[in-house]
């Protein structure tokens, strides 16, 4: 067997006997993402659905001045709350979410056919109130429109006269696409799974061996150091890939329990997703593992390595955030950027859109080249005299 193979099998054997490694790499890493997702989805979806069905409580000031309006609003799901003394102050101090004030001359204006005024009092800087305000405004506009049409009819005119423009909303987001927006963080979850899967072996390969004083005797063997590095990298990548595979399978299972259909969405989390996502991500596994080993090689102790790698884990979240805030149109060159390319591919897969073979190939080749480059850098670090010496 080659020297790299000897190192590989020893690392595998040792790690498979380590309960802590098994827990982190093969249980915690793969399950963290999917479970977090299920919980998040249930919370988000649950709240959206609740809001749409529940009555909307609104403080109404001057309800007695517009009894017909208030009745109509009640039928549309408004729950009339008793008035408060200073509604502006109450909203500002967050004692109430929003208030509706019927103007003092509402009755007179209505009877005379002049525009009658109502005010919505709310705080737009408070995010959770936003959809409530939209609901109330929608109710009021609907009421206004209906009555306007009735008045036109009463004067013998077609209601269409007052509606020169009809704006129809046609949302081209397919159900899959809407679901994928909620899933913008899923690729990062997968990257995190790769990270956690290889974390312990990457740390152990240098900082760990040095701390346990076994690196110096190891390097006294007649084996070039890059073979030792290669064996350790392959063992790290094996655990990482195992973690990723289990994570993808977990998403497959969890996908069945996602309440996506209640929101009129569907996500392509089927066997096809699994079969394509795994090969798409394997080059990234190699890049992230050798990156972890490189970072850990600079650390003086295991604890220090954990700190460095903990920070490094946050780097891959950047493309996720950028893509969810600025939904850019994917250009071919973007697939050539490691992390970003895989991210885009996974998003497309989730939306059940085809990913061009050229993009997939470009992403894989560039990522593998990047991994090779980092390997060469790490080899230089491995060749240095200081690597083995702890003090």
């Amino acid at each position: 067997m080659s020297a790299a193979g000897v190192v590989y099998w020893k690392e595998m054997r040792e790690s498979l006997r380590d309960r802590r490694v098994l827990m982190n790499s093969l249980l915690l890493g793969p399950l963290l993402g999917p479970i977090l997702f299920l919980v998040m989805m249930r919370l988000v979806v649950g709240r959206e659905l609740e809001k749409a069905e529940q009555p909307l409580p609104v403080v109404v000031i001057g309800a007695e001045r517009a009894p017909e309006l208030v009745d109509a609003l009640r039928q549309m799901g408004l729950e009339v709350k008793p008035p408060v003394a200073d509604p502006e102050l109450a909203v500002r101090e967050q004692r109430i979410d929003l208030a509706l004030r019927v103007a003092a001359d509402f009755g007179a204006a209505w009877r005379e056919g002049r525009p009658a005024e109502v005010e919505i009092i709310y705080d737009s800087s408070r995010r959770e109130g936003g959809s409530d305000v939209d609901r109330l405004r929608g109710m009021l506009e609907g009421y206004s429109h209906r009555n306007g049409a009735l008045r036109l009819l009463a004067r013998g005119l077609s209601p269409g006269v007052a509606t020169p423009l009809v704006v129809a909303n046609r949302d081209t987001a397919t159900p899959q696409a809407r679901g994928a927006l909620l899933f913008a963080m899923l690729p990062y979850m997968l990257v995190l799974t790769i990270f956690i899967g290889g974390l312990w072996l990457a740390i152990d390969s240098t900082a760990g061996e040095r701390e346990r004083q076994s690196l110096e005797p190891l390097l006294a063997n007649p084996v070039p150091r890059d073979r030792i590095l290669l064996g350790k990298l392959m063992a790290t990548a094996s655990f990482s890939t195992a973690s990723l595979t289990l994570g993808l399978l977990a998403f497959l299972v969890v996908g069945q329990f996602m309440p996506t259909e209640q929101l009129g969405m569907s996500l392509a989390l089927g066997p096809h997703f699994f079969a394509v996502a795994l090969p798409v991500l394997v080059p990234l596994v190699l890049l992230l593992c050798i990156g972890q080993i490189l970072i850990a090689a600079f650390a003086r102790s295991v604890r220090e390595a954990q700190t460095y790698l903990g920070l490094a884990q946050l780097v891959p979240i950047i493309p996720s955030i950028v893509l969810s805030i600025l939904p850019v149109k994917a250009k071919l060159w973007m697939f050539a950027v490691p992390l970003l390319g895989q991210q885009l591919s996974i998003m497309r897969l989730l939306r059940a859109e085809p990913v061009p073979m050229l993009a997939l190939a470009l992403s894989a080749v560039v990522t593998l080249l990047a991994a090779l480059l980092v390997f060469l850098v790490t080899r230089r670090v491995y060749e240095s005299e200081r690597l083995a010496i702890s003090t």
Binding site: V6, R212, Q213, S214, P217, L219, A220, N221, P222, P224
Partner: protein, 240 residues
Amino acid sequence: MIEVQGLHKSFGAKHAVDNVSFSARDGEITGLLGPNGAGKTTTLRMLYTLMKPDAGSVRVDGRDAVLEPLAVRRTIGVLPDSRGIYKRLTARENIEYFAALQGMDEAATRSSCDALIATLGMQDIAGRRTEGFSQGERVKTAIARALVHAPRNVLLDEPTNGLDVMATRALRDFLRSLKAAGRCVLLSTHLMQEVAALCDRIVIIAHGRVVADGTPDELRALAGESQLEEAFVKLIGEAP
């Protein structure tokens, strides 16, 4: 056979090893004796090619350690200052790992392992994972894996550190058996009794320099002292 000529090594402004020359012959036990921080470990590290000398040469059985590090590593067995073993592997697996890295085949590995386990009295512990081993059991495992490829030259950095009396005696007997087999044994120590009990030749190092080199009798004569310890103190004191 290990020949060291004019070895230099600095870390920053500190001269850790300053023009060290000596040789360790086959069939002899040579002791590198010196106080802590004298440069013994650094010297040994250059011998087993973990470090490159700034100047000077190391030849092991005629091979240059800088030019042919892999070939040199095949002919030496090393018990370094750090002697961590893998605690999730059994003692035998630890030894087999190094045998595989030395490129030995399965049959050779098995017979060599069996022989070392018998010689070092490790039969009871060979199949156990090394987690929870005593200091003596760990050193035995580390020595066995260092010597599994039957190297002609054996380098040991403070081999009896942390060992109890019985383990120390057993180790000394083992080193004498290596000597009897014609191997070249080089050990470093800061313990007087160690070299007195064991070594055929003594190289005294202080402040990174060789201050004396000879048989125990020659050193006693050189310092004009009948006790080796007195000779040692006197010789070190003479160093700048």
